[in-house]
Symmetry: C2
Amino acid sequence: MTGPRYTKLIESLPSSVPFVAPEQMERQRGAPFLARLGANENIFGPSPKALEAIRQAADNIWKYGEPDSHALRHALAAHHNVGPENILVGEGIDGLLGYLVRLLISPGDPVVTSDGAYPTFNYHVSGYGGQLHKVPYKDDHEDIQALINKSKSAKAKLIYFANPDNPMGTFYPGADITAALSDLPENCLFLLDEAYIEFAPEGTSPEISTDDPRVIRMRTFSKAYGMAGARVGYAIGTADLIRSFDKIRNHFGMCLLSQAGAMAALEDQEWINQTIEKVSQSRTAITDIAAQNGLTALPSAANFVTVDCGVDGDFARKVLSGLIEQGVFVRMPFVAPQDRCIRISCGREADLEHLAKALPIALENAK
Amino acid sequence: MTGPRYTKLIESLPSSVPFVAPEQMERQRGAPFLARLGANENIFGPSPKALEAIRQAADNIWKYGEPDSHALRHALAAHHNVGPENILVGEGIDGLLGYLVRLLISPGDPVVTSDGAYPTFNYHVSGYGGQLHKVPYKDDHEDIQALINKSKSAKAKLIYFANPDNPMGTFYPGADITAALSDLPENCLFLLDEAYIEFAPEGTSPEISTDDPRVIRMRTFSKAYGMAGARVGYAIGTADLIRSFDKIRNHFGMCLLSQAGAMAALEDQEWINQTIEKVSQSRTAITDIAAQNGLTALPSAANFVTVDCGVDGDFARKVLSGLIEQGVFVRMPFVAPQDRCIRISCGREADLEHLAKALPIALENAK
């Protein structure tokens, strides 16, 4: 008996998995982490009103969630002062990235991103056979002008750009992005990943009309809203582009509990303001811990701090291993020269105490 | 300014949406349904232990769910007496169907299904450019021998077969499927959708070794487990086939609450037995209501009853409209001659009272 016939594209894809889950690392080390500071989750959690909404919605779990996330979509439209036809709700930004790549990218189609930017975007591009053109970071920022230049020379159909950036935490003022867009080539879609935008200073998010067919923006309830486990992301774009997702998406893909939780979380903006303040304090605390160890933290506009370990990727990987061995889950950039850094998600005081204790030992052992 | 460049395949796809949600129909009619009996949801709901697990898990919603659904996958493996490497958990069977089609189907690749079978499967096949070959139903059953014959002549890469069938509720004994498989052509994957299997008589699910590369089986927590809103489906297949999904799936696509709820629901098999009994009683009640109105209910092995309205599609569509106007949400097969029927999901006594009241009026008005 012989097996199924995969497509040629599928056969060409690697079997590797983008991220190893912290739970798997815990099983490998035989003990739970003392501090979970690696996945840029928001340990301060969602609004208690969101939790209450989830618990209430559980009684309706026998029903399918609305395939168009009607109520949430309308609430998001009001929140952003756009039309509901400009909003698509999906299974996290990861899910939306997959759908968007599928809409635009056939095998061989050129796509531009930064070398070391979000690996899951690259995973989807490769998964549809797209050809990735990677532009180096410049001074630990994504290089927006170089990305646009590359998209011209490569005739790219899609540019990925995160603001604030992950894994570096750096950002551009929105006005810089708006200015750069004036130079965008025809028919190239600019994908603006704003997963961390709520943590950034006023003015970081560019003003972009929902009539502008050159841009799609993505946001999430996984970060500031503290609901990574709910898998709720959304895209903002032209009505045409948003409608096109209906041709391919998993219409009944949204968890009803997550829809209800996101609705309530969105309404509680006071909680978001408190979260932003807690994250800001945590960033300062991580920066201080880094400085106490002779390390430089990069200024961050996200809910993590990227800390320059001062040498190179080999050294930073040793520091990372040392932290993980001591029960402090952190991650790090994959690509040089950014991989001289480790990336530490914001946490509570107790989490950062574990970090403060483990970091000097990890540094000492890495020498 | 010009818009994004979609792939040729995307441009060729229709903009229509597979199912209109009952909530949208409610908005259109300006009133909620009195009885929600159209989507084959399980109104008897999940185990209270599943609800408790969801409410407990809410406190962890700030974390991403495990990308490999480790705990649930291992529990399912034990439940089915297979290896965890033979189980893939995904965003409902709908999500898994999309992934499977993507693994196998390139534009033009032949796929076989029954004419009038699950539309979401067809949606995914069309979405990846596959060529659908449809075989007529035979006596309101999917015609397994004709499906296999067609897969030979069309050189199909994939056959879709649901047992029990939706929308007709009919089924084959598992031994018939095992026997038919002996005639399956080389390299054609047999996709066995067992969404409704828990409601069917003993022996309906065929014995198939997880070493058998010809078959993938799909199951769900949406039906017997009463958790449609949670979006948890799973596939059982060879380790090779299961692993291949890792090349393309949304690794962080599962809701953490849903994973926790499904774990607890799986453990409470006593609740499932009670649900099966309630569904059985409801099937009898729907059959009686049909008979009181001079209509014949098809014998059903699922949580719905398909009722032959005795004339043709036009007549049945009028009956359906009449029920919906009266606040009774039901659906019907899309394709002749099955579309002489309407499909009524099992419900509680109160739900069926609405049906009993509305059906004679709908029939009278349809004449």
